[in-house]
Amino acid sequence: MGQRVLMKGNEALAEAAVRAGCRFFFGYPITPQNEIPEYMSRRLPEVGGTFIQAESELAAINMVYGAAGAGARAMTSSSSPGVSLKQEGISYMAAAELPGVVVNMVRGGPGLGGIQPAQSDYYQATRGGGHGDYRTIVFGPATVQEGVDVMSKAFELADKYRTPVVILGDGMMGQMMEPVSLPEPLELAKLPLKPWATTGAKGRRPNIINSLFLDAEECEKHNLALQAKYDIIQATEQMAEIAFPDSDWFVVAYGTTARICREAIQEARAQGLSVGMVRPITLWPFPVNAFEKVVERAKGFLTVEMSLGQMVDDVRLAVNGRCPVRFFGRTGGMVPSDEEVLAEIEKMVEGRTR
C-alpha cells in the first residue's frame, strides 16, 4: 500500500479520487463537504487536472456529464440539498450510460435541514432520486480508509458498467481525521479506452451520447438493456461484512452508524449475548447474499440508522419474513449512542417491545 497519513475524511476521499485517475472535478460549496472542492482546487492543478466551482450543484453534475462523455474520469461532490439538485443529471447519466462518481456527505434533512451527519438520503441514493427505471451503484463506507478504498472501486465500476456511482458518506466521516493508507496513483495511460466518447468524428462515424428515445419501443428496449446491466451488477458486485456470523441475533448498520453499533455489540457480547452484525458496504446492489448466509439460523435483526428507517425496508425484503426485523434510529443530525443501541439489542434479545 502507499503512504500512511493522518487525513480528514473529505480530503482523503478527494486524494483517493485523484489517485484513481480523476482529473476533472466540478463542485459547489455546501457544508459538511466543503473540504472536497477546497482540496481539489489545490490538488488538481498540481496533476494537470481541472477544478471548476460551478454556478450550482445542478450545473456541476451536467459538467460531469460532458466531461465523462468526452472520455474523462470525472466527479462531483455535495451534501443532501445539493445532491437533490443533481438527481436529474444523474438520471441522464444513467440513461446515456456515462461513468462518473458522485459523493454525498449526507446531513440532516429534509429541506435545508442541518449540517450534522445523517443517513436520511438512503432512499434517494438507492432507489434513484431522479426519474425513470434506473439505479446507481451506491457505496456506504464506514471509515475514512474504507472511503479511500471504495473511491478507487467506484471509478473502476463506473467505467466497467458505464454508469454513475454514488458514495454515501456523512458529515462525521467527512470531518473526522483518521490514519489512512493511500493507494498508489493510477497511471492515466492505464485507464480504460472509451471509443464511444465524443472526441470529434475523425475517421469514424459520429458518436452520439443521448438519452432521448421518442419511439416507445426503442425506449423500452433501452430500459431493458439498462436492467440487464443492473442484473449483472446485482449478481456480481454485492459487498458486505459479517461480524460474528454464527450469532443468534444481528444488528444491521452501515457507515458511521456501524462503528457505533460495533461498540454496542462488544458490550452485549461481554454480557454473553449472542449478537453479530451484517454491515452492507454496497447499499445498491443491496447485499442480500450476506443475509442468506445468516438468516436461516438468525432469531432476529435490529436495523440501526441515522434516519427514521430507510435501509430497514431492504433488510425486511432480504429477510423476507423469516424472522423479526426491528428498527432503531436517530435523525436530523442526532447520532445514536452505543448505550442506546445496546439497550435496543437487549430489548430485541428479550423480545421486549418497550
Binding site: 481541472t50 471548476i52 450545473a59 459538467m63 460531469v64 456529464y65 465524443t198 470529434g200 475517421g203
Partner: protein, 275 residues
C-alpha cells in the same frame, strides 16, 4: 453528401452544395422553419474552418433536440438548459476540440439562464448558437422569455397576449451577456432575408473564431421564425421578424474582442450599448 447519381454540369464551379457537416437526413422541422437555415450556416462555417472532425455539438431540449440526426458531428444531448455546462465539461477535457452548443430561447433564456451566464462569466472557450424565435416550439407554442409584449401564445392567450403586468418583459440576452468580461464575441443576427443570413454567417464565423483563438465565449443570437407557433405562413413569419422582433431585439455586434476600440466607438455613436 451529394447524391451519387447527380452529375455536376461540365465546365461549372460549385456555388452551393450541402455542407459536409450536415447529414442528408431530412429534418423534422416544420416547412419554412429557420432552424434549417441556422443548421446550414453552422455546418458551412465548420466546413470552412475544416473543423468537422474535431467538433463536438451539444444539443438542447427543444425543436433542435434531434440536431444529432442532422449534424454530421459527435454530439452530446444535454438536459434542458444545461448545454453550456455540458459543453464546459467537454471543452475542459478536450481544449483543442471545437465545442459548441445549439440552443433555443426556452433552453437558453428560460431554464438555462444561469448556465449561459456563468459559462460567459468563466469565459469558457465555447461557441453558442442561440435561436430566438420568441416561443417554445417543440411543446406546441407556449410563451418564452423572448415572447414579445402582446404576442399571443398558448400560455399568453387572447385578448392581451403577453401582458407585462403578469409575465414581464422580453429578455435581451446579447445586451445582458455583453456586460461580462468573459464574453469575447456577442452578436445578434437575423435569418429573415438572404442579406441578413449572409451577415449572420459572418457572426457565426466570428463566434467560432473567439473559441479557436481562445479569447472567451462566443455567442450569436439568431432571430428566427416559428411560423406554425405564430400561426403565419413561412414568408409572412420572416417579415414579422423584421417588423416586430428587430425593434425589440436590435441587430448588431454587442461585444467583439477583435475590434474592441473601433467597434466600441461605432456602437457608442449608433446608440447601441457598447460591450
Amino acid at each position: 453528401m451529394v447524391d451519387k447519381e447527380f452529375e455536376r454540369p461540365k465546365g461549372t464551379e460549385i456555388v452551393y452544395e450541402r455542407p459536409k457537416s450536415l447529414t442528408d437526413v431530412v429534418t423534422h422541422y416544420c416547412p419554412g422553419c429557420t432552424h434549417g437555415i441556422a443548421h446550414r450556416l453552422v455546418a458551412e462555417v465548420l466546413d470552412e474552418l475544416d473543423a468537422r472532425e474535431r467538433a463536438v455539438l451539444v444539443a438542447p431540449v427543444g425543436c433542435s433536440v434531434l440536431a444529432y440526426n442532422y449534424f454530421n458531428l459527435d454530439t452530446q444531448q444535454a438536459a434542458h438548459g444545461r448545454a453550456p455546462a455540458v459543453a464546459t465539461g467537454i471543452k475542459r477535457v478536450l481544449p483543442d476540440r471545437v465545442v459548441f452548443t445549439y440552443q433555443g430561447d426556452g433552453d437558453l433564456a428560460a431554464i438555462g439562464t444561469a448556465e449561459i451566464v456563468h459559462a460567459a462569466v468563466r469565459g469558457e472557450r465555447i461557441t453558442v448558437i442561440f435561436i430566438n424565435n420568441a416561443i417554445f416550439g417543440m411543446t406546441g407554442g407556449q410563451m418564452a422569455p423572448t415572447t414579445l409584449l402582446g404576442q399571443e401564445t398558448t400560455t399568453s392567450p387572447k385578448p392581451t397576449g403577453r401582458l407585462a403586468e403578469r409575465a414581464g418583459y422580453p429578455i435581451r440576452v446579447c445586451e445582458m451577456l455583453s456586460q461580462l468580461d468573459g464574453a469575447a464575441y456577442v452578436a445578434r443576427g437575423s435569418l429573415s432575408s438572404p442579406q441578413n443570413i449572409a451577415k449572420a454567417k459572418r457572426h457565426i464565423r466570428k463566434a467560432f473564431q473567439a473559441q479557436l483563438e481562445g479569447h472567451g465565449l462566443g455567442i450569436v443570437e439568431l432571430l428566427s421564425s416559428c411560423n406554425v407557433g405564430w400561426k403565419m405562413s413561412p414568408v409572412d413569419a420572416l417579415k414579422w421578424i423584421d417588423s416586430h422582433m428587430v425593434p425589440v431585439f436590435p441587430l448588431g455586434v454587442f461585444k467583439d474582442w477583435s475590434a474592441a476600440g473601433v467597434e466600441a466607438a461605432r456602437l457608442a455613436d449608433s446608440g447601441v450599448a457598447a460591450g
